[in-house]
Subunit: 322 residues, 2 copies
């Protein structure tokens, strides 16, 4: 295991402990519904990015920022709870979704409670008042962007073959990039950085998040179900407008024949066809470009172990297979 | 028209102008869905309470706090958008509800966007950083309480005859009291008040809000539909656990015979029965007690025109018929 992976594991453990303290023994059905997905595990990459960014601008500052790190994870979880209702998904992180286990009204409210907790926890960060106001403002603008991204993603279904690569990148920037951007930038802001570093880390997180979303699409196609927790090729089956589908269309590969129940052999055939036409290489290239841009943004920071980890983190985003 | 009513009308006009500026010409379906109910009018009582409280602790301070006032109105509206989905309501403020006009996924997201805007706007208040952090923290805790109140209210349906007056007051405190409490207290906090005044205005708003909710129940029963915008006696027909239903049960009045489609004569008969058993007088007495408590809380404030308006405002809460 690399040093980064050890760091990520240790941070996830600390995040899990903190989440357990706040949400492990909650009272009443509503808070249990809110805690359900939050306590179902996860890679806790947004908290890790926030804490690394804080330490990268001022070493040791992450010690005071665990509640802010939780705020980002809680924000992510609230969006998943609401998305699962909208998308009608029944399983997430290996457990039934909130609206499946309870009901839709409870799931809407559980998401809303988590939303509130995210803003409460960010105000609890041990940081300058001015920095906390900026952090709240950034988190709020980010939440609006995530909603826009989810709305665009849903609209892709109707727009179908009209959706172009630029539309996809805009959607991914809002749905996934914005929260990573906020994670990195809020960490730096709460650590007391200036505007140049805050902007640089925002750009870092944004590009890292877009690469992350593209990799998610590749994982859906390529990773065995037991690793990803999803059934392989589900995007293909549902005819989702992923970057893979868009690049395939640009290159004249017709994926519509895969919009049906798929055997593992069907998925393998699709992969072979996409590899043959250079689609997957092109998608990987686009993700790699974002990784490069993300790494370049870090160059305004002084050299440090944490900056090195941030560089490795975005590489990990496109290397992971789950 | 009293001076207070003139003040409320003028404030509502200013709130409407500001909302129109921010939400009147938005781009895209999601923001149009978010703006729909927000621009459909309303009494704008929470912004008025915030601005009056600010001026009651420091005269003239409300001039800088319009964005904070909007934040409270936007918060209220987001809860209505989500509540309408949960309750399956099709009309609100004389217009179709968001999930009726668009669909449920868009309504969930529209509520989520408004939620984000509320927190963004509160950070934009021209106030001390420390005060803004406190305001955000209070708004966040309030949003969680509103969710708890809505969850309790929905649970009342199943609990039926088990629900007691104390349960109702707790629900009303969370669902309605908390946001009025936050309106009054946040106004004072942003105006630079100390903890004694902040607490007093919180208590004022909380008790005013509980009285407001009780009056809402009375209006549902007593006010002609053309005034209230709702069909008269809908709570009775649905067997809702309002304070009226709970006090009726305590006094041995059986309202279950009214759980069916009701003619205006049926509603009149129910009213006569409830008046005869002293139920409505008892409910009015409970609301009046809250009004008295709210007014008493204001006594820590210096005498001023705005304090007088706040006293009159809570009287207006239980006098209004729509």
């Amino acid at each position: 295991m690399s040093d980064l992976e050890t760091y990520l594991e240790e941070t996830a453990r600390q995040v899990d402990i903190a989440l357990g303290r706040y949400f492990g023994d909650v009272f009443g059905d509503l808070y249990r519904a809110g805690a359900h997905l939050l306590l179902a595990g996860g890679k806790r990459l947004r908290p890790a990015m926030l804490l690394l960014s804080a330490d990268a601008v001022r070493h040791g500052s992450s010690d005071n920022l665990m509640t802010a790190a939780l705020a980002l994870e809680i924000t992510h979880t609230f969006t998943l709870v609401h998305d699962d209702i909208m998308d009608g998904d029944t399983t997430r992180r290996g457990v039934p979704t909130v609206h499946t286990l309870w009901d839709e009204p409870t799931a809407i409210l559980a998401g809303d409670v988590l939303y509130a907790k995210a803003f409460e926890y960010i105000t609890l960060a041990a940081a300058e008042d001015r920095a906390r106001v900026k952090a709240v403002n950034m988190l709020a603008r980010t939440c609006a962007e995530i909603c826009e991204g989810q709305h665009q993603d849903m609209a892709f279904e109707e727009r179908g073959a009209e959706v172009e690569a630029g539309d996809y990148i805009e959607m991914a920037a809002k749905k996934t990039g914005a929260l990573y951007a906020a994670s990195a930038s809020i960490g730096a802001i709460l650590a007391g950085c200036g505007p140049v570093e805050a902007d640089a880390l925002y750009q870092y997180g944004m590009n890292a998040g877009i690469a992350f979303q593209i990799q998610d699409d590749l994982i859906d196609l390529l990773a065995p179900a037991e690793k990803s927790g999803k059934d392989r090729g589900s995007d293909l089956r549902e005819g989702k407008q992923t970057l893979i589908a868009i690049v395939a269309r640009e290159r004249g590969v017709d994926l519509s024949k895969y919009r049906r129940p798929l055997t593992p052999e069907d998925v393998d055939a699709a992969i072979a066809e996409l590899e043959g036409a250079g689609v997957l290489d092109e998608v990987r290239r686009i993700a790699a470009e974002r990784v490069t841009t993300a790494r370049q943004a870090l160059q305004v920071l002084p050299e440090s172990q944490e900056r090195k980890y941030l560089e490795e983190l975005v590489e990990f985003f496109v290397r992971r297979s789950f």
